[in-house]
């Protein structure tokens, strides 16, 4: 976990790949004053071009596969994908349904997996801390 507040900044783009919306409740809750992820320097940004982290939810649907890959590939390196929720990590309700994949996280090479149906906002923030740590390693930064 990062030490002092504001010693890290993450731009986060969120992508829904067939989620039921439950996970979006909790990603939205990061903006509630009770959690306020901006206190860690984590902010939701409008474009993948601005993002360091891609959070993804859902099992992946056929219709979202190409837009999702294009979104991830639009991000600059180093970047990291965080799978949020059981569907995204491959154990959720709709994994392998007729028009669904086995988890958006697996398909987009997620390196951080946050379980839960949906995961609590605290769990998502822990996932983001982990993403920040991995990005630092990748950039050769120490903290």
């Amino acid at each position: 976990m990062p030490g002092k507040p504001f010693d890290v900044s993450l731009g986060i783009r969120h992508l829904v790949c067939g989620s039921c919306n439950g996970c979006e409740h909790e990603v939205n809750a990061l903006g509630a004053p009770q959690y306020d992820s901006t206190q860690y320097g984590y902010d939701i940004v409008a474009s993948p071009r601005h993002a360091d982290v891609l959070t993804v939810t859902g099992p992946m649907t056929e219709a979202m596969r190409d837009p999702a890959l294009a979104t991830r590939d639009a991000m600059a390196e180093p970047r990291i994908v965080v799978a949020v929720g059981d569907c995204a990590i491959g154990t959720g309700a709709w994994c392998n349904a007729g028009s669904a994949g086995a988890g958006a996280g697996g398909e987009l090479d997620a390196e951080v997996h946050v379980p839960g149906c949906p995961p609590t906002p605290d769990a998502i923030i822990r996932g983001l801390h982990e993403a920040a740590r991995l990005l630092d390693l990748r950039a050769g930064r120490k903290r």
Binding site: H14, L15, V16, C17, G18, S19, C20, N21, G22, C23, E24, H25, E26, V27, N28, A29, G31, A32, P33, Q34, Y35, I44, A46, S47, P48, G58, P59, T61, E62, A63, M64, P67, T71, G92, A93, W94, A97, G98, S99, A100, C117, P118, T120
Partner: protein
């Protein structure tokens, strides 16, 4: 019964197909009727435009051929600009694609394309035990999980003519009204955000979070998944009622303070008024349900007009408005939110100290039926047919969002492009339960 008579004496709800035929659902005298037509044949959408999306789905998913199915509008003209947004958006929202045709700043026509969240949930459940599928049904959409689970439970219970005890029914009512409340408070916030009033969203998120925590304490899940079950309700944690009620009262007071700030904000209200007007006639022609209908002068509310649970005993006061604009929809949602808080209070009074029994055992058996529950966005309809072993043969969901989406596009006509987020968020419909 022909559809025309169904529409005259009641209301059309929607349609779907299975391997053998087409089913058209309508509500007549408080009961859902299923009018069946041959697989291929005449489209009903030419006469009942609300059915165009249902019939297109039949064609796409069941390969049915229908004569006279209205075609997509082709929009062309000098000076028109066409641009496409989505399925990836800038916010934390679900995927949809919107094609705007605008003349200058004004929207001439808006098309919405869906299906990006299509997982194939209905066919996935075919062949599975119908009772065990309740867990999946709760996860078709996270914004109306309770309403859908309640519809599903009622269909399965009807197969056994199973009666639910009074205490469980009051607990279900508390649960469903909590779902409405947390949705509506969030909707007030996103509507404010749609007009650029960030404080409104932050404050609404704070209040929504307090609802989520109360939900978890009362029913074991922050968004009330798996609370309403076939045979009863999982409310073992609805024990500390005194503390829950006092927290709910404090929350209600803070919701009211927030509403005073919102509705007292002159500039905000002037942005809300006359934006995204949905005329009554359009709302009715396209089968609008829920707050979207009631803000345009309609009155239909499943809790009052096709009552279930204990709603006949504690009947909700309908919230209505007549302008059909963003201001009306926001107002109706706030009035409903307040009414939900009152219903929760009355239900707690009725419940008293009675314990809530564990759910009765329900076995999956053969049956065929539909049920409808008033969710936060309107009527949440579910049809189920099972085989002799109690396995799902056909499950179909007609969600309130599915019914209402075509109205969002119509409400946008003549509005300026930058007002799309505002108008859209004043409906705040889901995609997951429409795409399925």
């Amino acid at each position: 019964m022909p559809l025309r008579a169904m529409q005259r004496d009641g209301r059309l709800l929607g349609a779907f197909a299975d391997a053998e035929r087409r089913h058209y659902l309508g509500l007549v005298d408080g009961a859902i009727r299923d009018v069946q037509l041959s697989r291929d044949g005449q489209s009903m959408a030419a006469e009942f435009p609300m059915l165009a999306i249902d019939e297109r789905e039949m064609v796409e998913q069941y390969g049915i051929s229908l004569d006279g199915l209205p075609k997509d509008l082709v929009v062309e003209g000098r000076g028109l600009t066409t641009f496409v947004v989505g399925p990836v958006h800038a916010g934390i929202i679900e995927p949809g694609r919107f094609t705007f045709h605008s003349g200058g700043e004004s929207i001439v026509h808006l098309e919405a394309q869906f299906g990006f969240s299509h997982r194939g949930v209905e066919s996935f459940l075919e062949g599975r035990d119908a009772v065990a599928s309740a867990w999946h049904v709760a996860r078709i959409c996270g914004g109306c999980s309770v309403a859908r689970s309640w519809s599903y439970a009622r269909v399965l219970e009807s197969f056994h003519a199973l009666a639910i005890d009074e205490a469980s029914e009051f607990a279900r009512m508390i649960c469903a009204e909590l779902e409405r409340a947390y949705n509506h408070i969030f909707d007030l916030g996103v509507a404010a955000a749609g007009a650029g009033y960030g404080f409104g969203l932050t404050r609404a998120l704070e209040l929504k979070e307090r609802f989520a925590r109360i939900n978890a304490r009362a029913f074991g899940h922050r968004y009330l998944f798996d609370a309403v079950l076939p045979g009863g309700i999982r409310a073992e944690s609805l024990n500390d009622r005194r503390a829950l009620r006092s927290d709910l009262r404090a929350l209600r007071d803070d919701v009211e303070k927030f509403a005073e700030q919102l509705f007292g904000h002159h500039e905000l209200m002037s942005r809300f008024s006359r934006a995204g007007v949905l005329p009554y006639e359009t709302a009715v022609a396209f089968g609008a349900v829920g707050p979207a209908l009631r803000a345009s002068g309609g009155t239909f509310d499943v809790r009052c007009d096709a009552s279930y649970g204990r709603y006949a005993q504690i009947s909700p006061i309908r919230a209505t408005a007549h302008d059909g604009d963003v201001a009306s929809r926001v107002r109706v949602k706030y009035d409903e939110l307040r009414e939900s808080m009152r219903l929760i209070d009355v239900a707690f009074d009725e419940l008293g100290d009675r314990p809530i029994p564990l759910p009765q055992h329900v076995r999956a058996i053969a049956g065929d039926g539909s049920a409808m529950t008033e969710g936060p966005r309107g009527a949440e309809i579910l049809s189920l047919r099972t085989d002799q072993q109690g396995r799902v043969q056909r499950l179909h969901v007609i969600s309130a969002s599915y019914r209402n989406w075509p109205l969002v596009t119509r409400a946008m006509e003549g509005n300026i492009v930058p007002d799309f987020p505002l108008v859209n968020k004043s409906f705040n419909l889901c995609y997951a339960c429409g795409d399925r």
